[in-house]
Symmetry: C2
Subunit: 483 residues, 2 copies
Amino acid sequence: MFNDFKLMDDRPVSIQVKEYMQRLIIKGGLQAHQKLPSTRELSKLLNMSRNTIITAYEGLEEDGFAYTVHGKGSYVAETINSVPDASWNMDWSSLVNDHARKAVELDLMKRGIRAKKDMISFTSIAPDEKLFDLANVKRAFQDRMSVEGNVLLNYGYAKGYKPLIDYLLRYMDHKGVDLKGKDMLITNGFTEGFDIVLSALNKKHGSVICENPTHNTAIKSLKLHGFDITGISMEQDGINLRELEQALLKKAFDCAYFVPSYHNPTGIVMSPEKRQLLMKLMKQYQVPVIEDGFNEELRYSGSHVAPLMATAGQGNGVIYLGSFSKVLFPGIRVGWVLADRELINYLESIKRARSIHTSTLDQSILYQYLYNGNLDKYLKKARAEYKRKYEWTKHCCEAFIPYERLSGDGGLHLFVTFNEGFDTRELLEACSRQGVIFTPGDNFFTENGQGRHTMRLGFSRVTDEDIGKGIRIIGDTAKQLMG
Amino acid sequence: MFNDFKLMDDRPVSIQVKEYMQRLIIKGGLQAHQKLPSTRELSKLLNMSRNTIITAYEGLEEDGFAYTVHGKGSYVAETINSVPDASWNMDWSSLVNDHARKAVELDLMKRGIRAKKDMISFTSIAPDEKLFDLANVKRAFQDRMSVEGNVLLNYGYAKGYKPLIDYLLRYMDHKGVDLKGKDMLITNGFTEGFDIVLSALNKKHGSVICENPTHNTAIKSLKLHGFDITGISMEQDGINLRELEQALLKKAFDCAYFVPSYHNPTGIVMSPEKRQLLMKLMKQYQVPVIEDGFNEELRYSGSHVAPLMATAGQGNGVIYLGSFSKVLFPGIRVGWVLADRELINYLESIKRARSIHTSTLDQSILYQYLYNGNLDKYLKKARAEYKRKYEWTKHCCEAFIPYERLSGDGGLHLFVTFNEGFDTRELLEACSRQGVIFTPGDNFFTENGQGRHTMRLGFSRVTDEDIGKGIRIIGDTAKQLMG
């Protein structure tokens, strides 16, 4: 006993002693009703204070691994060890269903080139954590804890944390959304919100219409829900409305999915005129709209653009999905669904069945952070920094990359389109050998094989120097490949 | 302008001024290219410092709602207001599917008697938040933040926060689980873990076997996944094995769901012998087991009982779902799935597709709290308090309630069975008029109409005095109803 005991730096010593002995008992190294060494003996053997050993023994007893015989000492309690008869093996790959297989197949994190150390990676569109105003987040935690404390650590409500809902409703009101007849559900980020909405909607026609290319997580989710996807091509001011109308004439859709601002991956902001025409079309064909409020806050110039939901006035045809993940902190998993009250009632029950509720700490810290007035200050700082980087990246692309089209009106990425026939997978292969990677654009297209001549460059987490160096390498390599 | 402006106490004044004007612009109260009052005028009008107004105007410009003409002043930018043509209404109740309708129908929070103020409510089995060691949670937050800071606020991994996974693997190892060939996924509590597992499993036979009664959230989840449920009755030492074997002989099952310790709602701990026999049966019939580790930590007496997974040794037939929600803090939404490595690979991709990852703050705070050695100390305190309450509740039940059977070996609730024919819904109706409510037992049964003569009494959040008072009322009312 204790030959292989290694004291670690990470937890109280008495707990380590207790856990070591517990493990011995469970693994059969100490037999039931065997006498344990006295606390005096063990404290000598291990060179520890006797109090430490007494605490460890108390812990063992507390957890049912030992018992005391008065005046005699501690003994090992009867516990169950593993029973070889009860051990059996199953072939899980044959026990999982097509949904699980498809989830792995569509999981981009499990394929493609991973960033290695010292690589210049343009694959991420996550915010730059160096900008985070940590002190304000800490203060928000402390402020909230001192107001509500223990209550925050007990169960909350499926719909979400009430003060946050109220705050976000006002926030949406200030974006021009008419809140009458609407309600809000807090979700574990955009992704859960989208997934819950898709879980609730009829699949009468089994088909969805959206921009092409579009957000790859949304494509994955739509596919996992078994939808057929009709992708409509993009113009410089947003979705191609003629193509959209033709598709709507030809086929019925259960819903539409649009990313009107700083569209992922093209970075395009749909023009105000197009927004109005788009919404008229959706009304005409009675197709419910799922609006992805992605990056709406990362506007660097031009007028404020209202969400599609604002143009719909008191109408209830738009489901708005919001999130601060790209704007503030993605680690805080909070998003919101703003929609017709009746629909939210359904979504709330699905949310409760799935995960009870979103983390109250995340919600209450976010609420307090907003309440303390930090968002405006932070946005000002973050926008200035990202705008500078955006302009620098754009400049580098213009200087070095032999593209056919470059798009991106803001946000944290640019989208490059080469001549038809050029293959960005080949380009990626060649660049990665030189330590530079990016996201090949075909990931964002609704049909396999489309967009092979495009790529997305996320710049938010790349230094200015690396942006210059990396884009030069991409450009030079592309020119070489073009011959 | 500013006639209906009400200054609130909650956010910086400049932001309130900005938002008021923003709303006016969006709602059309201020027209595009209209000149805004000078900062000097407005500061006089509102009786605010000129700096406050300048900050508000800067914010408006920053967000694209205003522009400055040099030497002339600030003007309203062009934005879009709602377009009546684009407003339309849909009938959402006809646009949602059966899944959404079933989720509402099975949502117990949306039916039944709600606790009103001053009522004595035995419906909750959430922990008592007064016991929470808030200071240690705060310290955990500060400690973790000072070690990792900003990184915690950016994206994490779908599988979970690595230090927490490592900690929990060791924790499961100390419960006697053989980790070889196994892996772990962190989920948003037990409920999400269960839902993800059910999403991944084949529905070849479309049927699941479990204890009856059992955890009502699990029943809901199984029904929402379209499973037929075969419920096996309970004996005082756990599931009825003869009945189980007969069911296994008659029919094939895709999986089994068991709550071996402090079973919800009966509070029964499955005996060690039964655990071994159960596992042999499951091996014989090759049925994968989903083990709910619910309340395993809330043992008040007797020897440590190993999870079913521990008895399975190196076998991979058990999927273990763990959570500290009843033991520590339910508001921190963290659970874990420990299972065969290959299966976890599938579950990880489903998790990523659904919600990217579980809140990093929740995970890292929980990790640091455990790492700081708080669990053992807290459990000691919580167990002592709950044990006392458990014994007091049991005593009151024995003294006042005309039950046929009383069960519950620990945990945060007791389960009362009356004579067949007695109706606890009627009892609840009568008691609620006297300000006392509980959970009618039929909620926990797999078939409608079963268990009408049972009820669950959660005592964790009721004071000693109210326990005595409430149970006396329940007992007296039951006696009256029995005539």
